[in-house]
Subunit: 414 residues, 4 copies
């Protein structure tokens, strides 16, 4: 449980990923964003953008820097959760790094679900092109009219009509659904309203171009649309998909969401550590570069202690993420659930604080387009409710702790 | 010092302002923003927008709900700082309310400076149309390459050439400078580089259309451009203005900034209280409207305590703002400086926290375009460094406290 | 509501109290504590101690500096809550000041209850000697086996047997019950176990020397016994008192506790402000007197900001306490309940933090017998659950706020 | 760096220690403290106490559960810092466990210093009986009149007079110096006032019974004297010891203190984790055992989240302590200094908070003699300045981080 070192086999990968990000991703990224500025249609790519991105993706695939996120895959790909964590820390420092290595959300979660529970036909049609990086996907769970903190709160309905599901309802903040390359989504629906609360839901594969799927518009993140990726507001009106599009089986939607959320949540947290590292670096560099009252800002008042606390918390979070990844490797996603919740409750809240402090050291420049800090902040802020709000994860951890003493369980292993 | 009640004379005004905001401002505001959406040129108003706004302004002026911010004006306008505080709390709840009553920043600070230290000619040319609400103005202090926490950090230079100042340099985050109605700005420049640190600066009136004034583009606030108001990045290249455009006198720029910042800072804080009230209301209403685990969200976990702490802190901040306003009324802006810093260090930080908690109760909707919370958050966040970062205001308060005991002063009056 | 100034009539009192504390209480206090050290019996006074104390009390009474705590008393004594607050701030700075002016807990609460609801006989027997400072008293509510956060949690029973109540049960942390001058206590008992939850309790006057009252020993406060005042653990075994000793009437115990707790709670908070002022002064003085790394400690790192935050919070707390006192004066204790809870939830928590920070600036000396800080800390820490834990007061404030929006009440008056 | 697992060789020890503490230490401890209560002379042991203690110590030594703290000792004893950490977590849960295994401060630090830098004669005379558990020792560094945050602040002087050092000065909070078994102390003195600031100090062995050593009295910890261990206030008046009693060499006192403080600090933190675990257990057990408003307290309001945050922080601290121990094992105490400071700045502050929250859940019982929480709190509180205040450790961590970016160092290894 406490051996958190990267495996000897994976270690060389880390160095190769670092070099690849520095040599390939960063230069491409700059050109990619420059091309995108001021394009006429925000919901498509500008000419040349996809060529740039696909070129780097092709090189990553050719070099085997690809699909690291999928542990124990029958396809032989993927690293252990622990090994992947070290790589994901790096990917979190650059916005396009994850996508270049085919390790970006929400595809990773969708691929893991398909790999674990998909039928051969589902795998052939959707998993293969996703693993190949040819298409992208979305995951449609949250609804505008219900509290998402309770994952069983689903109103969007699917009713069997012969051999087809007929879907009606609304979903919002469907990340990636604005991307023209997004071809499929996994939709959480209510199929069994009369069953027990956790057996009412199913997850169904819905092609983006299915008739009746309507993009009502983008949901904004502190005013940002993140086009063309986007966080879309969707309406389903009598959308029909084959009966076989259901994943794992009717009424097992909540079960799948438990399965998927483990890795997804922890991948977010791994990348958050990278973001916090970046913010701390920017904070110190800025604090060294500007003077006030005859001293570099970083030496004034509490700033050195702010730096210290950030460093201490980053190291603590890093270790906790590694610990949770190890728990998933050893115990499986379900049994590692409390560790995952612990990390999900801990990391985004503190990373937001660290970025916020970096902003404060920058003054107005910190919220401007001249540093990545404002966008980093708003992205991390969404993680405090995406995949379950902090409060729900604290409830999971708190209740598990209380249960230990309630049942007079033997002391936990150290 | 502790009589913080509104004066009997001003009390009826508060009710009239409330009614005016509800009956006139709110309905107009909705139409105003709807007209502005999707307009071709973000840096001008859409047809019909200004007509709406000017109509309400005219009615406000006709009803005497106008220019409340200017205490002890020779023109007879204005309320005491304490009375104004009560009104400003209300104005903080609606984005256009301040402007409709000609009480919006940065005009208020500029008008107060002109009223206090302007020459008759300066007053005629700029103060009169500002008091009449016919033009708008900007205040250009912050520079992109220097830490703004030290107000004496000014590189933008003005050199006398005959009867003209020749100005060269850069300023950024110049709020309101994008508005086509903005006709003049007060620019902080360095005129006496060899003088003592606090005597090197002057403040000079510069018409927006002076040759050599170049708008390099908008600075964003967490990705938002706030067009057409805007927070502009300006370059001054050999800009020439008459010698008489200097305010108060050469080398007195720092002195003026001390004068102006008192009221400006506290006006921000007054409006922040209003924003916090609004956020608390939205938090409770949302928490009552959504259920999870069979209960309204507001009754789950720590939420009731979050509400309690928000209410307690809002009341404490309100009293502190009133106390600081009273101090300004009794002691003058200079001597009330520690009170103003206390409030400026206290309020925006806590208001940001309250809005952030309201966001958390809303989930994803809290950061979307469907509530005002995201925009409220980013606006309030800028106040943690605008007009001096929190850290500088804590330095002012902390040093004043230390000085009390250093000099073995008699105990402060209760 | 917002006129928080001391009344003109009471103002001269404040100065007189300050002088009296400085000239009479402080010098006596030093001798008093010196006499008490190392005395053989911790639960009685050393020879000479009471003579010292009674001498100062007699002078205070003669000068009219006496019984300030009792507003609107038919006896004509007492100040408004607001006026008393200013005086209580001063009393909080010296441990014996309150007692010297006959304004110390728990007598104040007991006297207020007796004055409000006592029968003429009860007043003659107990209120008169208490108002005269001849005896002291205790209030026995908390029980060792039940959560005190719910004030209706009472197991100690009283059963009528003819004309007598027969009391059985245990109480603990009964402050002042160790003092040999303590002659009576008000005991919260359960008399009507079958009534509704808030109608089961009664409050009964029990002489300390009633047969069957047994002092099991002192409860410690972080190891301190506070002898001879003490916080005693009592057992009642078939204690018999006359039927008329019940206050107000059978089943009205909870009602009385609501009545008494308002003033008691806010008096604690008033004195807490004084303690915080004292701690801040000690923090700054120590920080100025010691050097490290070539600078006075107070100028190092975050310390100036710590001082600033303490000053800001003290002022905010002071205003909130005044506001709550004013609310009690205007609305009565019952209707001012939310204000009282707001202050009780706010003040002790923050005062503990301020004292803790003063300790940190002192290093080891801060927890030693060489400064009052350690004792101040542990005293204030008890206030976070005495008279209801913070959590219950936040519940009161939070629920009141939620109710405002639940019932779509009109906006609160400013 | 990230393999934080206990070594296979040491693992069986952990189980044996757990059993020994449960079977031997806990029952003895209860009797030991009962015997000590009310003894006439607080500064000696009651009859029978030492026999109990020595019995258990003898059994521990016989079973090889002894002197774990000394890594890489030439005597062959001791575990790696990492392995010891796991054991120290356990020892932190019971007050006498460390002493029974001869692993208690300040002896551990003194033994480590003697082992590392002692002369053969110094080892024979002092190290051997210490390793055997026959005597105890003290470490005299802090002085009442100087800020201890700067470790070079030493006024106590030692002057060579022939072959003897003559020592004059004062020390306070000398833990363990009240114990009659304490036979020697290491005293930090100033020997070279004219040298550079970090070369002025020396460390000298002084027998407790040397003429001129005077115990002025105990320093209290929040009113507690911790007799007979004690934290004594000492005066040195012309105390003479042989020239050879200096450790390592004249002027090398600061160097030794850097050496000793690494292990000492981290041992404290290891035991603090154990204390936090104990507090969390007590908090949950109490919260389950008491009801209010019809529910167990632990399920009310924020309490479940408080439990969750405590669990998360304990795990994060545990990992950080293991990480720092590993750093000491791999890099040596000097190079692991930043890791040690990180842990010392992080752990006691948070452990205090966790204990404080456990107190709050207990209500008045939490600060009473009926739970260990009050004593745990005050003990942990002293760690926030013992061996350097939090602020100094944050300075070490913050400056190291700033230096990384100042010198454009390559990115830290993950």
């Amino acid at each position: 449980m406490y051996d958190l070192a990267m495996s000897a086999g994976a270690r060389p990968l880390l160095e190769r990923v670092r070099r690849f990000v520095a040599d390939e991703v960063e230069p491409m990224q700059e050109k990619f964003f420059a091309l995108g500025e001021g394009r006429a249609d925000r919901w498509s790519f500008a000419p040349g953008q996809l060529e740039l991105l696909d070129g780097v993706k092709a090189r990553a695939k050719a070099e085997g820097l690809w699909n690291f996120f999928l542990p124990d895959a029958t396809t032989g790909e993927g690293l252990s959760n622990l090994d992947y964590a070290y790589i994901a820390f790096e990917l979190g420092k650059q916005p396009l790094a994850s996508e270049c290595l085919n390790c970006s959300a929400p595809d990773t979660g969708n691929m893991e679900v398909l790999e674990r529970v998909g039928t051969p036909e589902q795998k052939r049609r959707w998993l293969e092109p996703l693993l190949a990086g040819e298409i992208r996907s979305a995951y449609a769970m949250t609804e505008p009219d219900l509290a998402s903190s309770d994952a069983r709160n689903i109103a969007c309905s699917a009713v069997l009509d012969g051999d087809e599901w007929v879907i009606n309802g609304e979903k919002y903040y469907i990340s990636g659904a604005g991307d023209p390359r997004c071809k499929v989504m996994i939709v959480m629906v209510r199929t069994n309203p009369d069953a027990a609360a956790h057996l009412q839901q199913s997850q169904i594969l819905v092609p983006m171009d299915a008739p009746g799927v309507e993009v009502l518009g983008p949901m904004l993140v502190f005013g940002r649309d993140d086009a063309p990726h986007g966080h879309m507001h969707l309406r389903f009106t009598d959308v029909r998909v084959p009966r076989d599009n259901v994943l794992l089986g009717e009424g097992r939607g909540f079960e799948i969401s438990q399965l998927r959320l483990g890795p997804g949540r922890i991948h977010h947290c791994m990348r958050s550590i990278g973001a916090a590292e970046k913010a701390l670096q920017l904070m110190v560099e800025r604090g060294l570069a500007r003077e006030a009252f005859g001293k570099p800002i970083i030496a004034l008042g509490k700033n050195t202690e702010v730096v210290s606390r950030a460093r201490i918390e980053i190291e603590a979070m890093r270790l906790m993420v590694l610990r949770a990844a190890k728990a998933m490797d050893l115990m499986g996603n379900a049994d590692a659930r409390v560790w995952v919740s612990a990390v999900k409750a801990m990391v985004p809240e503190r990373v937001c604080q660290i970025i916020d402090q970096a902003i404060q050291v920058h003054g107005a420049t910190g919220i401007s387009q001249w540093t990545p800090l404002a966008e980093m902040y708003t992205s991390q802020r969404t993680l405090r409710f995406a995949d379950g709000p902090d409060e729900v994860h604290h409830m999971v951890v708190g209740r598990a702790e209380i249960a230990r003493w309630q049942h007079a369980a033997p002391p936990r292993e150290a």
